[in-house]
């Protein structure tokens, strides 16, 4: 190609992502104000949506970026929920303060668990995580102080510790959910924009190649596993603050905390930060439309997930990116060459939608 490159810089943001950031701020402000313009129903529904969005973002970090397909994340959701009950009832801790406790303990327990199940690779790892979740369920069902197999409710005097009035309490729980989902998305985004994220993407695209470049595969994956377990436990505590009642079957439900989460991520677009966002919206729309169908609704979800996986494995958002090159949360690095107006036309022809930006690092697109 003719022409001289006068200067260049490596950038991650794009104009779309800058606009998206502004829109995001507006959306967050609107959501934060829901207690003033919405009712109790909206707050409860949005609270659930935030919890699912957070779980899906974390599962996506594991499966879509790290290649660790877990069907046992309910282990940590349930663990976080039980930590809420244990510390609030026996430790006298304010329920809201059990959330960070659950996060720390969830990450700590994930260290021995991870060390054990990391011995299984690929698909067997997936079933191993499920066994661990079953072990957690059976163990907590044996703890009679926490209600044993039939479960337990959070006593009213402890619930009042959050706030004495019901309306204020709903608001506080709602805002907590909003803050936590923002923390989780921020955590995932930061993970992927840092060195760690580059290492993860490299591992996902080719383990041998990344290893030869000095990436410690085991350690990188292990750190992500432990941190996302902590974050999942944190969301678990939140979910059971919303519910106020826990039982082993509800806390460690593979359907509620893993199957739905997988559907959300697959339908929205696995391996994309935006995927869980889109997926959560689609999932809750489907749920509102089809919830009366009961088992048939789940059947439909299963069919949709299979069709998406076979026909559009990158999900709805993957399709959008392929078609329009839009990224709301850019994690790939672009080499921007400046002062080469005459080159832009030629470059655009050859590089297609990427325009004058030449990608120099692994981009979050799954290889076929």
């Amino acid at each position: 190609m003719a022409g001289e490159i006068r200067s260049f810089r490596v950038t991650q943001s794009t104009r779309t992502s800058q606009i998206a950031a502004v829109v995001a701020v507006v959306v967050i402000v609107v959501l934060a104000a829901v207690p003033w313009w919405g009712g109790r129903f909206e707050m409860l529904l949005l609270g659930q949506i935030f919890a699912y969005l957070a779980l899906a973002s974390l599962w996506n970090l594991l499966a879509g970026f790290t290649g660790l397909v877990s069907i046992g994340q309910q282990a940590y959701v349930g663990f976080g929920g039980y930590m809420l009950f244990a510390f609030a009832i026996f430790g006298g801790v304010n329920p809201l303060l059990t959330i960070p406790i659950a996060a720390v303990l969830g990450a700590l327990i994930a260290i021995p668990v991870g060390a054990l199940i990391f011995r299984l690779s690929g698909a067997y790892f997936a079933i191993g995580t499920w066994v661990v979740a079953e072990v957690f369920r059976l163990v907590f069902a044996q703890v009679s102080a926490l209600g044993g197999g039939s479960g337990n409710s959070l006593p009213p005097h402890i619930v009042r510790e959050i706030a004495s009035g019901r309306e204020i309490r709903d608001m506080i729980i709602y805002w907590t959910a909003l803050i936590l989902v923002l923390i989780v998305i921020g955590f995932v985004y930061t993970m992927l924009r840092t060195r760690q994220g580059l290492a993860l993407t490299a591992i996902r695209d080719s383990e041998p190649a990344s290893e030869s470049l000095g990436v410690n595969i085991w350690r990188t994956k292990f750190i992500v596993y432990v941190l996302s377990a902590g974050a999942t436990s944190m969301i678990g505590a939140l979910i059971f603050i919303q519910k106020l009642r826990i039982s082993p079957d509800a806390a460690f439900s593979v359907n509620d905390w893993t199957a739905y989460v997988i559907f959300i991520t697959v339908i929205g677009g696995i391996g994309r930060i935006e995927g869980p966002l889109i997926g959560t919206v689609v999932y809750f729309l489907l749920r509102e439309l089809l919830a009366d169908l009961g088992a048939v609704y789940l059947l439909i979800l299963g069919v949709v997930a299979i069709v998406v996986m076979l026909r559009a494995p990158r999900g709805i958002w993957g399709f959008v990116v392929e078609r329009y090159g839009i990224e709301l949360f850019p994690v790939q690095r672009r080499l921007r060459l400046e002062g080469l107006d005459e080159m832009k036309g030629a470059a655009r022809k050859s590089a297609g939608a990427a325009g004058p930006d030449v990608e120099v690092a692994a981009q979050p697109v799954k290889p076929d």
Binding site: V131, A141, A259, A305, I306, P313
Partner: protein, 287 residues
């Protein structure tokens, strides 16, 4: 004496777990596919047997004449119609598609048959037993189940190592590209492997349903038992899988003897201990 009895019964149940495991490890061996819906397919086979018995009035064991071919054909169609399109370098598509299949089977059965528990009644066979001394009785049905498991594993071993079909299985497992160059149609071979796997699943499903109550939700636990038997026994060693099933069965029986709530937990714990101490299983294949 209770303890000896528990161990004996545990060994016999172990045969059933080995049957759960055999189909699972066959598929993994041939095409590196872990079928998350495996447990639900076992339950599906139990319902096929139920329908077959209700329409023809057959005994559970004779219903195998219908259930085995039905499941085998279903397996071939499933592989050719869906699962072949998920195979590749990425482990995600087969995992997620079989996971979706698991949800579909569970909820499909729930819609068709409700959540009521069922049982395949086998009349006199169900209750007949004979003493082996020391006050221990062995049920005819559990013994039959164990012997069937041994026979199935022997047959699988025979198919794998002495027949042209087994050679095709091993060839595609070792190197699918080269196998294709040698004129093997991988898609067809994978279809046959899934058909064989689901034939074993059919036998496992009928014995499961003749031995205990079942309902649409019990599939995932069967997948986990089969998986644990595979890992305890050692990947790639089919007789090891039988040993793994027996160890799991005995562990559960001893756990149940200690405390009714510990039955399943004891099995999981033995699995985790094996994973910690001997991550390649107790009897790994010598390569």
């Amino acid at each position: 004496m209770d303890w000896v009895n528990a161990v004996v019964q545990g060994v016999l149940v172990g045969g059933l777990y080995a049957l759960f495991a055999a189909g699972l490890s066959l598929i993994f061996g041939v095409m590196r596919l872990v079928n998350i819906a495996h447990g639900d397919l076992i339950v599906l086979a139990a319902y096929v047997a139920l329908v077959a018995m209700q329409t023809t009035g057959l005994d559970p064991l004779f219903s195998l004449l219908i259930v085995v071919p039905v499941m085998a054909v279903f397996g071939y169609a499933l592989q050719r119609g869906i699962l072949n399109f998920t195979l590749g370098r990425d482990i995600l598509p087969p995992l997620l598609v079989t996971f979706g299949l698991s949800v579909i089977i569970q909820n499909g059965l729930l819609t068709l048959f409700t959540a009521d528990t069922r049982r395949l009644r086998s009349g006199a066979l169900e209750v007949s037993s004979f003493p082996i001394g020391g006050g221990i009785d062995i049920g005819v049905l559990p013994l039959l189940m164990f012997c069937t498991a041994v026979a199935v594993i022997a047959i699988l071993q025979f198919i794998f190592y002495t027949t042209p079909l087994g050679r095709a299985f091993r060839a595609t497992s070792d190197d699918p590209e080269v196998a294709r160059m040698m004129g093997i149609d991988n898609r067809h071979v994978f279809g046959l492997a899934m058909a064989l796997s689901l034939a074993v699943v059919a036998i496992a499903g009928v014995f499961l349903a003749a031995r205990t109550n079942f309902d649409p939700s019990i599939g995932p636990a069967r997948l986990i038992f089969g998986f644990e038997a595979v890992i305890i026994g050692g990947l790639g060693n089919i007789w090891g899988t039988l040993a793994g099933g027996v160890i799991l069965g005995v562990a559960q029986a001893i756990g149940a003897q200690l405390h009714p709530g510990w039955q399943i937990l004891a099995g999981h714990i033995v699995f985790l201990i094996v994973l910690a101490v001997r991550p390649r299983g107790l009897f790994p294949r010598v390569d």
